[in-house]
């Protein structure tokens, strides 16, 4: 009786979220999956006929008449993955020490700091990126200050370079890395660190064998949350990169708009999703392996 009631409660609680995800997540996903195998309509949309060349022109079995195979799409994907990986790495290097520092602050300072980290979310991403445009441009704040203090004599050429894209991506993604990392660091069992030092381990050994394994779930969590949106980001490369280096997100957007080729855009999206899923499963497996070792 009690079990049945528990099931009922659980079902009641889970129904809304299941329906929500079913309608707003699963259904669109299925539509994209379906569209990726359909014939592109001349003016956008799809024609209901099977068409495998959307994948053929990416992977190399196009006929060179209707569709042409070009390695460019996989190159664009590889470059986007590279940028996303670099963003993850830089966010991690930036956030890891800061997480330790914040976790040792007195309580009220800690709250203030966590609030500051989430502050950027209060304004639109586009507005914040245009602010970076104003900071980075040759006559912008950064160059004016650096020239003013005599650090440089010519303005730095950062805007419209890959460096500006990476800078923008790291800026956008840092809070997503920081929050899971901070929670892992905050939960660190400090007695274990003391024990490790007391038992004669060096600082490096203590870090590698005690601190790192305990914070690994936070690192992996942050890495995944930063990696996924970074792969598909197309606004940062457009605004700060001057649209000169095409990313997979730009390519997908272009297929749905200026190229009016929804099926090809869908096929590209499916491939991005497959790659992201592989990364996700890989990192979960890695976390499980590590967890197993510790246990």
């Amino acid at each position: 009786m009690a079990i049945r009631r528990q099931t009922l409660v659980l079902a009641t609680l889970l129904t809304p979220v299941t329906l929500f995800l079913g309608v707003f997540f699963l259904l669109p996903l299925l539509i994209i999956a379906l569209f990726s195998f359909l014939t592109p309509g001349l003016y956008g949309g799809v024609e209901w006929a099977f068409y495998h060349w959307n994948y053929g022109r990416i992977f190399g079995w196009a006929d060179d008449i209707i569709e042409v195979y070009e390695p460019i799409y996989l190159q664009i994907l590889a470059r986007s993955l590279g940028f996303a990986a670099l963003t993850v790495l830089l966010c991690l290097l930036l956030c890891y020490p800061v997480a330790f520092w914040v976790s040792r602050l007195p309580n009220r300072w800690r709250m203030l700091f966590l609030f500051l980290i989430t502050l950027p979310f209060f304004s639109s991403l586009i507005v914040r990126l245009y602010a970076w445009l104003l900071i980075l441009k040759p006559s912008g704040i950064l160059n004016t200050v650096l020239i003013g203090v005599g650090a440089i004599s010519e303005p730095l050429e950062i805007l419209y370079t890959p460096a500006a894209v990476v800078l923008g991506m790291v800026y956008v993604m840092v809070p997503f890395m920081f929050l899971p990392l901070y929670s892992a660091v905050d939960n660190l069992d400090r007695a274990l660190i003391e024990a490790s030092m007391d038992l004669g381990a060096t600082r490096l050994q203590t870090f590698l064998k005690v601190v790192l394994p305990q914070t690994l779930p936070g690192i992996l969590g942050g890495a995944v949350i930063v990696f996924i949106p970074s792969v598909g980001n197309f606004i940062v490369p457009d605004v700060l990169g001057g649209a000169k280096g095409l990313m997979i997100g730009n390519l997908v957007e272009q297929q749905f708009l200026s190229a009016r080729n929804w099926p090809f855009g869908s096929a590209l999206s499916m491939i991005v999703m497959a790659v992201v899923l592989a990364v996700l499963l890989g990192s979960t497996a890695a976390a499980k392996r590590k967890g197993g070792q510790n246990a």
């Binding site: 419209y160 708009l257 200026s258």
Partner: protein, 339 residues
């Protein structure tokens, strides 16, 4: 209780009456003088709402995906043709309105609707080059424009638009901007790639960067002139090799909920003083011949905004190229990924 019932009924009727008198515009961003909408509402009592889009394709995709509630859209001529082929537009017989005589026949550019029984010419303009004469000296051609970085150290930008950028390459090679010949598109791609290293960015943000002096020259729409009224050193030119022009038309959607109000708006826009009001704020061209006499002198007498017949021969307009769009898409990907 009865009084309350009557009050509610009256309120509902008032609400319903108000709901009837609306007009929903779906236009490009910053592409209509807000004063026109205020005047239209003041005169007719019809409440106007305005949503915006940033490309023809964005608008088409939204309408195709089934967006309803919009009465009027402002597609470019080639998109006007596409939407007619797709059956998305409503016949308005605007060409039978008495004031239609104000419209220059040269602006009836739709291939699918050559007599304008569906849409009304809205505005037209050129896509040329803005340059800071203090940095670049006088520029007259695309060759001059692309030489700016090497000669002066100044930066240049192109529009972040597939067909506009490839059109430069096609024009420089003496080809049609609507070519569907892969060989022509290859020539155009090679021309742009040869100059890509000189181009700082493909961007729509160039006007602010021109004002701050961070960019020396930019490929942009004639409407950009509005930013440089106080900056005489910023000039605008139509390159000698040729350039593109655009024209948008006012079209009523087949799905429009208020078709009569939409027709009223079209007729309102046929008045010379209303069309001239738009030019005064937008700095572009009008199809209304009478309105051309009413526009401010600094626009009317600027040979680059109000272009003469000899410049007109150098201007090319985009047409619907159907399946050939795929060639342009691939060329654009190549251009944007080349290092």
């Amino acid at each position: 209780m009865k009084a309350l019932g009557v009050a509610v009924a009256l309120a509902l009727m008032a609400g319903a009456a108000q709901a009837e008198e609306t007009l929903a515009l779906y236009n490009w961003g910053d592409y209509i003088n807000p004063e026109i909408l205020t005047k239209f509402t003041a005169e007719t009592g019809i409440k106007v709402t305005l949503d915006t889009y940033s490309s023809n394709e964005e608008m088409l995709a939204k309408i195709q995906a089934g967006a309803t509630g919009y009465d009027i859209v402002f597609p470019s001529v080639h998109m006007n043709d596409i939407m007619l082929k797709l059956g998305l537009l409503e016949k308005t017989d605007i060409n039978l309105s008495p004031d239609f005589k104000n419209i220059d026949p040269a602006n009836l550019r739709s291939k699918e609707d050559p007599t304008s029984s569906y849409c009304l010419p809205y505005a037209w303009g050129t896509v040329g080059v803005f340059y800071n004469e203090k940095i670049t000296g006088p520029l007259t051609s695309w060759a001059d424009f692309f030489a700016v970085p090497e000669k002066t150290g100044g930066k240049i930008t192109l529009l972040d638009d597939m067909r506009e950028v490839l059109a430069i390459g096609l024009i420089a090679n003496g080809k049609s901007v609507n070519s569907a010949d892969p060989a022509d598109i290859k020539l155009a791609t090679d021309y742009i790639l040869a100059h890509k290293a000189s181009v700082s960015a493909f961007s729509y943000d160039s006007m602010a960067m021109m004002t701050s002096g961070d960019i020396a020259a930019a490929h942009f729409f004639v409407g950009g002139n509005v930013f440089f009224i106080q900056m005489p050193e910023i000039k605008y030119m139509i390159p000698s090799e040729g350039a593109t022009m655009y024209q948008e038309n006012i079209c009523v959607l087949a799905s429009a909920p208020d078709k009569e109000n939409a027709k009223k708006f079209m007729e309102f826009y046929l008045r010379p003083e209303i069309a001239a009001l738009n030019v005064a704020q937008q700095y572009n061209g009008t199809a209304n011949v009478q309105a051309r006499e009413l526009i401010p002198a600094e626009i009317k007498n600027n040979p680059n905004i109000t272009v003469g017949p000899e410049t007109l021969t150098r201007l090319h307009i985009f047409e619907d190229i159907g399946a050939a769009l795929k060639l342009y898409d691939r060329a654009w990907n190549t251009i944007r990924t080349a290092q």
